[in-house]
Amino acid sequence: MIVDEQKPFKSLFSMIVNDTISFCWLDEQLLAYNTSSGDTHLLEGDAAWLISTLSERPLTNEQVHQLHKQRDSNLQFPLSRLIMNLESIGIIRVRDANSGFAAG
């Protein structure tokens, strides 16, 4: 996995913030190339969707809603904290603070 299973967001943040990842969709799979380490990772399912979504910043309201929806379904990550952290450091912009996640 591209993210540390124990600290998923720390590694994810640093890579996205530092813009050190190149992405490429092949069929329904996402390849992520870390230009710092030279490692290539294969991401599928939620992880692929999450990282791909985060890489398209700023997020739209619709994307934030989708993230919120995912939190209650099959994603194991604490997304509300993730979104707040992303917003606080300026990586994403949540246009409507009352639409869900800001109240987390």
Partner: protein, 310 residues
Amino acid sequence: MRIADLQQDELQQTLCQEGIWLSVFPFLFHIKSNELAVATGISQLYADYPVAFQGDYADFHITIKPPAGVRRFWRPQIQFYLDRHRPFKPLPRNQSYAFLEWGMNWCVANHMHRYLILHTAVVEKNGKALLLPGASGAGKSTLCAGLVARGWRLLSDELALIEPESGRLIAFPRPISLKNESVGVLNAFAPEFLIGPIVNDTQKGSVAHAKPMAESVHSACNNALADWIVFPQYVDGSDAKLEPMAGGTAFMQLQEQAFNYQLHGKRGFEVLTGLVKRSDCYSFEYSSLEEGVSLLESHLLGEPLAVASL
């Protein structure tokens, strides 16, 4: 001048003295050796390749000769030299020709980093290239030889050279390496193939090399773009089975077969993803070469299955 234009003793004598400048597109090898097996192997298997007796330049200067020391008297060995370096431990003398072939592969895989290099057989038909990546023993060379026998052009049976700027596959046709049972399998499937002497008890078992078709050598300067990537796996007793593979999975397996992917950095990622994007990817199990080749041709080229495989 081609190797076939030379008498065996003339070739042997030149190999012992100045050496020969053997053009194996896209590289030039300067080869010296006093081993009869090396001269015989080159004479048989490189008959269609251009050669010169003098040269100002070569990509690789190779010498195959016995190592110094008294050991040679009771257990004859052979040593591979690149320039003055000995990158390998010596091997038993009866493996001298195979040593040359393995050493030539090593030279290219470890030095020609202007290409992205994959451990992959490559053949082409109707302008469309098929990659057959696989670890040693997966059956890629046998399948490659089977397809060549059916009229596919050999680009390489070991190393796919990808030009990063264009993504095109550069041909590097060489004798096809066969191991163990695959020698007999190819003999039965395509008796027209000229297969060199079998050398037993190597690290890879019994090995032999099959001479590439002259057409593949003569058209080596024609490169190709990938259309299919098929990951073969020989499975004893299995029916031939071709199944689509997701692009990401294919990429990861292809990356494992790359010699210098890391060296190319982000460009390597882009070249390899480009290769997978333009190709249909499959996993492929087979045990019968006849059935396997027929199924591949039927599916990839839309040709009817041979009666024997119906």
